[in-house]
């Protein structure tokens, strides 16, 4: 396996990203190490090849945003919008993540070992998100599809106006948002949760220690009480 190293102290990030956006056939299977990220924004965004990328430190905003196929590991923390609008692949943050992680992500898996900030998985559209720590307020706001696993606690307004995404929380929830309610976990959902725990490196955590949350579906439909408004 070929390993390529890029040092952001000496090489402009734009050049590194342009290289990573090259023809997939020439990139597939490459192992890339990015050194001295030092909080730069937009590292490894828009990937669409079978790359295995390790960022050796703290990343800035939108790291691995719009990711497809690639595996990106951030050894430090990630700024706002990590894996935003991810389509597929895996993004693994070993530290904490700031606000709006996995916002609008369509597919793939985002693993955050530490805590995640406010609005995590906001407008989630089908990706899986596993947070080892706690998440901030307004997480999973209007989340449409996908699975969101929180090993720690959740802040205020969890799952406000949620559609069909599934939320699993092991710790406490400060408050639920409008139209979000407790759910009974089906055998099928338990399997989804168990598989995600294994994929995210939490094989030792019991899936039965989670409470599931989802949509009460009262905001979906026209309510007859509002008929007088027309």
């Amino acid at each position: 396996m070929e390993t390529l190293k890029f040092d952001l102290d000496t090489k402009p990030l734009r050049e590194v990203n342009q290289f990573l956006h090259g023809d997939a056939s020439s990139l597939n299977g490459k192992v890339i190490v990015i050194e001295n990220p030092n909080g730069a924004h937009n590292i490894a965004v828009g990937l669409k090849a079978e790359l295995d990328i390790t960022i050796k430190g703290h990343a800035g905003y939108y790291a691995a945003g719009m990711n497809q196929i690639a595996k990106v590991t951030i050894e430090g923390s990630a700024g706002s919008g990590v894996a935003e609008n991810m389509m597929s692949g895996v993004v693994h943050v070993k530290g904490f993540a700031s606000n709006a992680a996995a916002a609008t992500a369509n597919g793939g898996l985002l693993i955050i070992d530490g805590d995640a900030g406010l609005r995590t998985a906001i407008a989630l559209k089908g990706a899986d998100v596993v947070v080892g720590g706690s998440v901030g307020s307004f997480s999973a706001f209007m989340a449409q599809a996908g699975n969101f696993v929180i090993l720690g606690d959740a802040g205020e307004g969890l799952g406000d106006s949620i559609y069909e995404a599934k939320i699993f929380v092991r710790g406490k929830v400060k408050s639920l948002g409008a139209d979000c309610e407790k759910k009974t976990t089906s055998a099928e959902d338990r399997q989804i949760l168990a598989d995600l725990l294994v994929k995210a490196g939490h094989a030792n955590v019991n899936p039965d220690s989670f409470q599931q949350y989802g949509s009460a579906r009262t905001l979906y439909h026209f309510h007859v009480d509002n008929a007088g408004a027309y």
């Binding site: 700024g79 700031s98 900030g117």
Partner: protein
Amino acid sequence: MCGIVGLLVRNPKMRDSIGELMLPMLIGMTERGPDSAGLAMFGEPVSSDQRKFSLYSGTPDFNWTKLGHDFEKHLSIKAKVEPKANHAVLTTNLEPATVKSWLKEHYPQLHLLSVGQLMDIYKDVGTPAQVAERYDFKNFKGTHLVGHTRMATESAITPAHAHPFTAGEDWCLVHNGSLSNANSLRRKLEYQGIEFETDNDTEAACRYLQWRMREGDDLETALHHGFEELDGFYTLLMGTRNQLALVRDPFGCKPAIIAEHDDYVAIASEFRSLAHLPDIKNAKVFEPSPMEMYVWKL
């Protein structure tokens, strides 16, 4: 946007190089705030009967020597005037109220940026690198500092609108964000006898805290009242004689990241501004939670 930086040096050996440590922090926030920059520097205190007055002239041609002579002649008291580009620090043991009214009468064109025993304030328009160069930030010595890079969104780009703002002696504040109720706060506070110098929203937050503390609140209580009354987005970083304090609004709209190390505590809007700090790899790096108050004492 705007960028904030703060640095409190715990290791006394490193205090002589606080300016050098801070400079890349401030310049690192240029993209967040390219139009003006400011710095509040806390250093050795003057003797207990003296005060330092940070003055801004707007022009490097200002005759500071004449100001010193006029001051001593009119008020029959010694004063030390140390000019630095558009700024000067005047040190005297005359009452602040007397100094303020003398300045207003004889030098109305000057802005009084701060009064204190430890704190000097420098703020001006230009990129952070230009402002730092103009005032030689690199060679500043001291214990702690609060800095700001501004991208103006709601009021004019002038030195007076730049941060930090002060509310009382050796007390300053910088702000990243915007307040939606600054005008109503200003009306309320003016009715309470609080004077404003600009129409800037950050000044409204600053004067609000000044008013709360005048009413007997300590900083923590004042900030708790602030959570109720300040409507908008904010990360506020404050400096006092012996501490730095930080709060974020309930929605965490504006960023902040903290590095706690045995030698220092460093705060910035983004990690980019902390990456160069010595031994940062061994610092505890974390993001402050909304509506929590973080305080670091010397």
